[in-house]
């Protein structure tokens, strides 16, 4: 039976690569097309990098999900970092606390079909994304 779920602990840059490879395998299992795989895998890469950049460590949970006959890939990036003070501000284009890249979260949102974020100062950050086949 094909693997349908994987959890990647993210502490170093090489873990971003691991998360990306795992996401690609599971996205293929879920039956996503090439362009869709590119999109969700890029989103996973961005989320994993954010964990390292802002929280230092965390994890990315990847699973194949279904609704009716449709399958998709779900990725949840979780960290216990400083959290985001203003989600409204973080979701605005051109806003980035590090000022190096900007666009991180709004860009990630554009790559996926479903996007949920939960964060507060001192409570860490949890971002859920889904891409349907």
């Amino acid at each position: 039976m094909l693997l349908r779920q994987q959890i990647v602990t993210v502490v170093a840059e090489s873990d971003v690569t691991l998360a990306v490879l795992a996401a690609r395998d599971l996205a293929q299992t879920a039956g996503l097309g090439t362009v869709q795989i590119g999109a969700i895998v890029t989103a996973v890469s961005e989320l994993a990098r954010n964990i390292i950049k802002y929280a230092g460590h965390g994890r990315v949970e990847l699973r194949v999900v279904s609704r009716g006959s449709q399958q998709g890939l779900e990725a949840v990036a979780v960290d216990q970092g400083p959290g985001i003070e203003s989600l409204e501000l973080a979701m605005q284009d051109k806003y980035s606390t590090s000022r190096t890249l900007g666009l991180g979260l709004p860009g990630t949102k554009r790559l996926v079909d479903d996007f949920e974020i939960d964060s507060a100062p001192g409570r860490g950050t949890r971002v859920l994304v889904r891409k349907w086949a």
Binding site: E13, V16, T17, I37, G38, A39, V41, T42, E46, L101
Partner: protein, 147 residues
């Protein structure tokens, strides 16, 4: 300073240009090592141009894109013209969604067209060698090519 665990990007000379072929996936250190190798090679050889082939690459996030652009800007400052070829639709779709800044990045569909664009006389460039090709244009072209 040589770390054998980091895959090296092959750099070969063809038609007076240097062709660099990036691998299917980037691991930490690949782009840093590539930058060192590329700058060293460009400095020791008289090159008309540099073609960077990304046709195998399946994913590039903003961080990697920024690193690559930095390397290519440095290469361009040494003299040769630089062109990126073979970007995949999935990669381009991701970069466009993330808002990657591709201003001034020269692109072509494949190695052949890239070499052609570099070896042309500077004036009156044609389609496929458009200096101002934007990433959405690249996406359109790549999608058209994928059909």
């Amino acid at each position: 300073m040589f770390d054998s665990s980091i895959p090296r990007v092959p750099l070969q000379r063809t038609q007076g240009c240097l062709l660099g072929t990036l691998p299917r996936e980037l691991v930490p250190g690949t782009l840093e090592q590539f930058e060192l190798d590329l700058l060293a090679k460009v400095r020791q050889s008289a090159l008309a141009g540099v073609v960077i082939d990304l046709s195998a690459l399946e994913l590039m996030d903003l961080t990697e894109f920024a690193k690559l652009r930095r390397s290519l800007r440095m290469t361009g400052m040494l003299g040769p013209k630089v062109i990126v070829v073979g970007l995949r639709p999935g990669v381009v779709a991701g970069l466009v969604a993330l808002g990657a800044d591709a201003a001034g990045l020269r692109t072509a569909l494949n190695v052949e067209l890239g070499l052609e664009a570099l070896l042309q006389k500077p004036a009156g460039t044609t389609a496929g060698s458009d200096e101002s090709a934007s990433l959405p244009d690249v996406l359109r072209r790549a999608l058209a090519g994928a059909r």
